[in-house]
Subunit: 154 residues, 2 copies
């Protein structure tokens, strides 16, 4: 099921964040893998099976040869090493690790923007998120048109 919707929630004073129930039920898993986001300073949460399928090529690869690839090693260092799996507590909250919170600029007791990105979730400091949107002011319509064209071309 697709993860969609935009939500604003607050990190509590223990570093816990409530994941909205709509996202939780779309996840159909009591775990997520948290890591640095691919764009800018945010936190990404992946369903475990999607994470494995999508990123594990960098470390394993069927033949195990990726260990001789400098790019794969760098990707691992910059991205995979920051990832860890998190469990939901009985109220649907996850404990965001200190290191990722620092990376994303998310303090205790602060608000965050939670984005359903289809296959995964992004968690943003609201100000940083707005900066990202403002930095790139192509209209939604133009962006979609370009993408659709590109897709047809491929």
């Amino acid at each position: 099921m697709l993860l969609t919707g935009e939500y604003i929630n607050k990190v509590d004073d223990k570093g816990r964040l409530m994941i909205p129930s709509k996202l939780r039920s779309a996840l159909s898993s009591s775990q997520v893998v948290a890591s640095k986001g691919l764009d800018g300073s945010c936190i990404a949460l992946f369903p475990p099976d999607f994470f494995d399928k999508t990123f594990s090529f960098a470390i394993s690869g069927d033949d195990g040869m990726q260990i001789f690839s400098p790019e794969a090693r760098m990707f691992t260092r910059r991205f995979l090493s920051s990832s860890q799996s998190l469990d939901f507590d009985s109220s649907g909250r996850v404990n965001l690790p200190q290191s990722l919170r620092t990376y994303a600029g998310i303090d205790l007791r602060s608000e965050v923007t939670i984005l359903g990105m289809g296959k995964y979730i992004e968690i943003w400091n609201p100000e940083k998120y707005n900066e990202l949107l403002a930095a790139d002011d192509v209209s939604i319509s133009d962006l979609g048109e370009a993408l659709a064209k590109n897709k047809r071309g491929v």
Copy 2:
């Protein structure tokens, strides 16, 4: 069946909006997908199959490779992440998510303009809608002529 007509309805104090029965019956579905509108700050409601066909290319697909496209990620963030599917309740109401209401400037207990847009529905803050119309005062006839010419050209 085409979605047509212009209606004024009121959002109730729980954020629910009655969709006029003419639009509901033209939809022939007990669900819609709500998202940010493509022009300006409004809410768009799409029949689910139309939405999937038209927009979800950026997030669906089992290969997950779109996750490595920065453009696809940006499109997802700006447009798809705001989308959620909504069910009609037994009285023909849908619950407009807080984030979309904020985006469109629609408060609880306020009036909205509902537009049948052929394949989909737009929901506007009436003032913003009037501003849009006023800002772009090309005649309907000229608009139609330009569109028709464009179509032939392609």
